[in-house]
């Protein structure tokens, strides 16, 4: 009698926002040979496999209920680092934190980073992340010089933008559905200081918000906006913009010091007193419309135009500033809805969406805007325009209404020629994906999937939702 199913491996995984969980048989390989064995085992057992890094997707991208989760966080070695050329080769489980801490003291910085440094590079490539410099640097995929990957069929391949170019442009942003990155070679960006020159100012409404981003972006390395989504009327879409620029050689007299990791490290205490690890408990009571509206109004009102210097880590990794901030959203967790709109249609569409959410009593508690440009990856989310990321608190009472709101949002965004990002939205339906990606891109992706993964071993709950439904 074979009773040898590895039940002790059946672990519960969550999304970043703690609003969704799924249990799976978890394997944590340390080398390529182990992944190869796991693929054979999965095929024999009739189970599907999902790749998982740090689990920082807001949705079901790294969840595979009842199947296998291949957690790649143990494959976390930096294989090669050349401080001369800025080329780094690493395993997929290496985090952005490991990476910048390795390269910054030598005067380099990752060309594209997410809002948290806890993400793994495998995950970053799988989602083809963008940063606050997307309009200039493109997504992280544009800085990949080469990667090697193990396909579920057993083949190991190397891809560069030229060699196996179709796979290169499909596996990056391919949600881990074609194969496993086994090594990634990235080009870092030269830095002459550990500081950025930051400029901040308030914008009184949506039109000014988008107009200022559009005007500021060509002049700066980074542009990001915070939006007060609770404000209505003339203040609809008001917020605060930040731009940041690299310092040129010689501009920072203390460059040697500011490039050190210790200089960049985020403070562990708030006002030097309150440990930040417990801050989320104090934030939780603010998780309602009234309190959040007050917080946003205060934040907006005290916002003044200012120029200052800030460390790279402090500017980029806002999501790490308050540890476990996502727990402040309570038992139901949070979801994020991010839409990408062409610059011509964004003003009207987002104006409509913000008004709609306020009318239904479901304002977002945090809105973040960025400037984008298109790229040539197969499942790209980019447009020549902007993105708006909206955080929503999930509660049992508001679940259905929020679902309806986001569905209505989808239709507005689609009509405005917009796109969506698979690391964020949790409710995107298959027909929505077909509309914004186009039948042709999906057919091409599926053909590649058939080639790389003939037994359809790689499947996540996201894949089932968007491509199989």
């Amino acid at each position: 009698m074979d009773l040898s199913l590895p039940y002790q491996r059946f672990l519960r995984f969550e999304n970043f926002g703690h609003s969704l969980s799924a249990s799976s048989f978890c394997y944590r390989p340390t080398g390529v040979d182990e992944i190869e064995k796991l693929f054979k085992f999965a095929k024999g057992a009739g189970l599907t496999v999902t790749l998982r890094g740090a689990g920082k997707s807001y949705n079901d991208a790294a969840l595979n209920g009842g199947g296998i989760v291949l957690d790649l966080q143990r494959m976390n070695k930096i294989l090669d680092w050349d401080p001369g050329s800025g080329l780094v080769r690493l395993e997929p489980g290496v985090t952005l934190e490991q990476l910048w801490q390795k390269v910054l003291p030598d005067g380099w910085w990752p060309p594209v980073v997410s809002g948290t440094m806890t993400t793994t590079l495998g995950g970053c490539l799988g989602s083809n992340i963008h940063g606050k410099n997307n309009f200039r640097a493109g997504p992280i995929g544009e800085h990949v010089v080469e990667f090697t990957a193990l396909l579920p069929g057993g083949a190991e391949i190397a891809c560069t933008p030229k060699k196996n170019g179709d796979l290169f442009r499909a596996m990056i942003g391919g949600l881990g559905m074609l194969g496993v990155f086994t090594s990634i070679t990235l080009q870092m960006k030269r830095m002459y200081s550990g500081l950025l020159g930051v400029h901040a100012w308030n914008v009184p409404n949506l039109e000014a918000h988008l107009g200022d981003i559009l005007a500021a972006a060509p002049e700066h390395n980074y542009t990001v906006g915070w939006m007060d989504c609770t404000a209505g009327g003339r203040g609809l879409g008001r917020g605060q913009l930040h731009t940041a620029d690299y310092l040129k050689e010689g501009e920072d007299p203390d460059a040697k010091k500011t490039l050190q990791v210790a200089y960049q490290t985020l403070p562990a205490r708030f006002f030097g007193l309150v440990p930040k690890s417990i801050l989320h408990y104090f934030m939780a009571p603010f998780g309602n419309n009234l309190a959040w509206s007050a917080v946003d109004t205060v934040k907006y009102s005290i916002g003044r135009e200012k120029t200052y210097r800030q460390s790279h880590a402090a500017f980029h990794f806002l999501l790490d500033y308050i540890p476990h901030w996502e727990l402040a959203y309570g038992r139901g967790g949070l979801i994020q809805y991010q839409s990408f709109l062409p610059k011509e249609t964004a003003l009207e569409a987002w104006g409509e969406m913000l008004k709609l959410s306020q009318r239904r009593g479901l304002p977002s508690y945090l809105g973040v805007t960025k400037r984008h440009r298109p790229d040539n990856f197969l499942l790209t989310h980019a447009v020549d325009g902007f993105s708006l990321a909206l955080d929503f608190k999930v509660t049992d009472r508001k679940r259905a209404a929020l679902g309806q709101l986001l569905h209505d949002f989808d239709l507005i965004v689609l009509d405005a020629g917009g796109r969506f990002y698979f690391a964020k939205n949790s409710e995107t339906r298959a027909e929505t994906a077909r509309r914004f990606l186009g039948e042709q891109a999906i057919a091409k992706f599926k053909a590649l999937k058939k080639r790389c993964d003939p037994n359809n071993l790689l499947q996540s709950d996201l894949y089932r939702r968007v491509f199989e439904a």
């Binding site: 969704l20 009739g46 009842g66 999930v394």
Partner: protein
């Protein structure tokens, strides 16, 4: 087995969540009523039983009422112990996980007051107890590992004393109750809820034709009581509730009296 994977409903999302349940012994009686109830409460239910046709009819009825797939039929004989791990793995993959497990398979094969029949006793023990062990072992291990889950076992008030009428039925239900209590003591500290259901007389096929029944409740009522106990995380449930007092008295009748009784 489900006819096709495409019949399976979508996986949950933060705004369209659902839970998943396995009901072993779902083709009639309390099991069928509970499968219907769970589906109405939004669960996705794997319904297991030997009788494929009745099972499929039940699932069709549930799915039609819901307007979407909420129940999937799996033909299974609980005495096929070796089939359990493979079937459990398949159900996990089909449903996308497991939140609630119900062992409701049961057999009562009375031997009569003066007769002895090992074949009947074996079958009773296999269905009521050994089949439960075959399922509860892997399910408990899974729940322990994922740190969440609810286990419901349908035992019986008959498991509280050994009576003259049906020794192996009493013994198998006593064993099941005791096993569930052990699981509860093991697993509560790991966040898992174990409910022992002790019905009196429920109007099901098991009790059909039996004489001298009293306080008979419908299977639907039993399912409603069980659902309430699951939500309230009760440890044990008598159906109907007045059996709790009765069984307290019965448990405490001294043996010198009890062995002279003939019920």
């Amino acid at each position: 087995m489900p006819k096709s994977r495409t019949l399976l409903p979508a996986r949950p999302t933060p705004l369209r969540p659902h839970k998943r349940a396995i009901v072993v012994g779902a083709s009639s009686g309390i099991g069928a009523a509970l499968a219907r109830r769970l589906a109405r409460e939004g669960y996705l239910v794997a319904a297991l039983s030997r009788r494929t046709d009745r099972l499929e009819a039940l699932c069709d009825e549930i799915n039609q009422a819901a307007g979407e797939t909420r129940a999937v039929a799996y033909t299974h004989d609980v005495t096929e112990y070796a089939a359990v791990p493979g079937l459990l793995q398949k159900i996990l993959a089909d449903l996308g996980g497991l939140d609630l497990f119900v062992y409701n398979a049961g057999a009562a094969l009375p031997t009569g007051f003066k007769h002895y029949n090992f074949a009947k006793d074996l079958q009773t023990t296999e269905v009521n107890y050994l089949g439960a062990l075959a399922w509860l072992n892997p399910v408990a291990a899974l729940f322990q590992s994922q740190g969440a889950g609810t286990i419901v076992g349908t035992s019986s008030v008959a498991g509280e004393r050994g009576r003259i009428g049906n020794p192996s039925y009493n013994a198998s239900k006593a064993a099941l109750s005791s096993y569930l209590e052990s699981l509860r003591n093991r697993l509560t500290r790991r966040g898992i809820h174990v409910l022992t259901v002790k019905p009196g007389y429920v109007a099901t096929e098991l009790t059909q034709g039996q004489k001298g029944l009293f306080w008979v409740v419908s299977a639907d009522q039993a399912a409603a009581d069980i659902w309430k106990a699951v939500r309230r995380r009760k440890q044990d449930l008598y159906v109907p509730g007045r059996w709790r007092l009765v069984m307290f008295i019965v448990r405490n009748i001294p043996s010198f009296i009890f062995r002279r009784l003939s019920f």
